[in-house]
Symmetry: C2
Subunit: 400 residues, 2 copies
């Protein structure tokens, strides 16, 4: 059980956090990517950036190119219409459309610096991040044709989402029918991003996602299982026992956004449970921080890196707890927010070069000095800082 | 640079090690697998075994089923014709032939407990371990038909080895032509296992392997690169800089077996360089043990688990140094052997339940309590103990 403080979120405290995140986001995180990531020669961004921003590998990881193009489009729309932010987004979008997107709707996972394909995943996530970027950039540039393109691409993703043989996976007889949390979770976020105010058009798809997410959340054990049977029952073996606390917390706030918008109390409670249970199960009382993976019954998780502390679960937990606190006003949600904030600023932040480290060992020592890598780019850190900064600046009521 | 002791390998010392390994192999390692791994219901072996041998997942990982069937066949032939060892081998072979081997020569990577396919890798290694098992079991049972089958399967592996589009990989324009050490390395071992005394029949294939292995060993930096261009030059980026010390050391002793057998001084020196350089580069002076991965130029390696200490590189280093010492008589080779022995018995060995732990963090704490998992089975530990025990008992000369 995490050790939580007793302080409260009065206006002065909130303002202190808001100013801290503002400084971190606009002075230390965004400048890192603005300075070091653009590839002015071939377009797009480099995302393998060393501690000081030096490019240590020129491979372009398309998850991260899509996410960075989304981030700068979002900042342009939601924070300030800075031309250089739109230009940064355009640099990514043009490269993605020219090189990453295939004519059949699939999107390559990796490209060379000059845009030649290197690898194609047999999953749907690269496509998801590409569509997110397209939709937000279309809105930033008020481009109706591009919006339509994003909507059509989302339709394709829906058609693949629950049957990956359509994206090249072989179906083997011995694989038990199952579903992973990652899919309905990312779709909920994608609908939010693509649909905007027209979300009613996606009612059927949203309801299916709510239904599916719910199957992963088990009240009897207070755990969120990453993979379950189609009816929500637990699967045998290591796969069935695997917990990914950061993932469940992220899914929690995706869902909480919908609960808030649709004023659905059932979803609100489900999302709260997901975040609180996963945080409680995932926190390491001895060394602090959230584990990457756990086994629900205490066996050793199979992933070799299970006990590492990664930056992104902490990003998700920071915003999720802050958001929950605006809804519940409960001290324990605020205390969890402050606990994560403290862990982040004690361990992930790099005062010398900006951006955050991504990977710590169980004892919270930095294991990888780079700021960007195959799965870390200009996304989780600026997204969470922006979300928290925005929420702190638009506090829903004035009870304190 | 590893801190090495000055002791020497006199007959009494060698005998002490031989007795220690004999006890470890026959009293603590083999009984663990004999007791806990057999699946008497469906055949084959369970390989996901917890610290005490309890099955925590019933998935059958075919790399490890092949390797275990090989190990028991080998023990039967090379150590003692115990009927229970042959029976143990047969349990694996029958299951593999019935369920894992496909009619086109491909072999599934994972099966359910009752033999239904779960996953097929787009690589050649499952096939290699299957053929190893087949060849050794054929020899143990004096089955000429099965020997022919192993030889024919090896031919198929040769035909796929350097073009993985033949096993289902897509070829993308942006992937630079390259070769990985793993392929010529495993083929050298496989020829040794399949050919036996008829190795002259594989002269062309062996020469190609020698040629290819050599391209990974760079005298200018004293490093063994895991992936190089077809002409042996270094590739850009993280892939080109990746070092896998345990792998290079294992390849070193595979090659040293051939150097000894063919009395090739050039190969002898190449193999010595591979082992010594990789050990020196891979040893962690601060916490002891061999790193899993390193970056040749000091960047952070991309794998999240790069700084972990895995059991198998230490198994390879134990035997490789002992073997090298029989050839060189140099104190530094003996000292390295003793250093690895000490690290293993300080950290990997489990006096309570037998077998060894597989995974330690950088500071040498056990991170995974299980004894068997997706990549750890009845193979590296008994193989190295048997090889060392055998070498210590058949010491090539009596200079000390």
């Amino acid at each position: 059980m995490p050790q939580l403080s007793e302080s409260t979120a009065d206006a002065a405290t909130r303002d202190r956090y808001r100013r801290k995140y503002e400084h971190e986001l606009f002075e230390r995180v965004l400048p890192f990517w603005e300075r070091h990531s653009p590839d002015r020669k071939h377009g797009g961004y480099f995302n393998c950036l060393d501690r000081d921003g030096a490019v240590y590998d020129t491979t372009k990881y398309i998850w991260l190119l899509g996410r960075q193009a989304w981030m700068f489009s979002k900042l342009y729309r939601a924070v300030e219409q800075k031309p250089e932010w739109l230009e940064m987004a355009r640099l990514g979008i043009d490269f993605l459309r020219k090189h990453a997107a295939r004519s059949d709707g699939r999107v390559y996972f990796t490209l060379t610096a000059d845009g030649k394909p290197v690898y194609q995943q047999r999953k749907i996530f690269t496509e998801c991040f590409y569509v997110m970027a397209l939709a937000e950039y279309a809105r930033a540039t008020d481009d109706a044709r591009l919006s339509r393109e994003a909507e059509k691409s989302l339709e394709k993703i829906f058609s693949w989402a629950y049957d990956w043989t359509k994206v090249g996976r072989e179906a083997f007889e011995g694989v038990p029918p199952s579903q992973i949390l990652a899919v309905p979770m990312i779709l909920l976020n994608l609908i939010e991003e693509v649909a905007g105010e027209d979300y009613h058009l996606y009612q059927i798809e949203m309801d299916e996602c709510f239904q599916r997410v719910k199957l992963h959340v088990h009240a009897d054990t207070q755990k969120v299982y990453e993979t379950v049977a189609p009816d929500g029952s637990r699967l045998d073996g290591s796969t069935g026992r695997l917990l990914n606390p950061g993932h469940a917390i992220e899914a929690g706030w995706f869902l909480q956004h919908w609960a808030r918008r649709l004023q659905r109390d059932d979803l609100r409670q489900l999302a709260l449970d997901m975040v609180r249970w996963s945080y409680r199960n995932g926190w390491d009382d001895e060394h602090g921080g959230l584990y990457y993976f756990l086994d629900a019954e205490g066996y050793s998780p199979l992933p070799l890196d299970w006990s590492m502390k990664l930056w992104w679960p902490h990003c998700e937990a920071l915003y999720a707890h802050l958001l929950d606190y605006t809804l519940t006003g409960e001290a324990s949600d605020w205390a969890a927010f402050e606990q994560v904030d403290r862990y982040i600023f004690d361990h992930f932040v790099d005062p010398d070069h900006g951006e955050w480290y991504g990977y710590l060992d169980r004892e919270s020592h930095v294991t990888h000095r780079f700021k960007g890598g195959p799965y870390k780019g200009c996304f989780h850190v600026p997204r969470t800082l922006w979300l928290c900064w925005d929420l702190l600046g638009n506090w829903p009521d004035s009870e304190s």
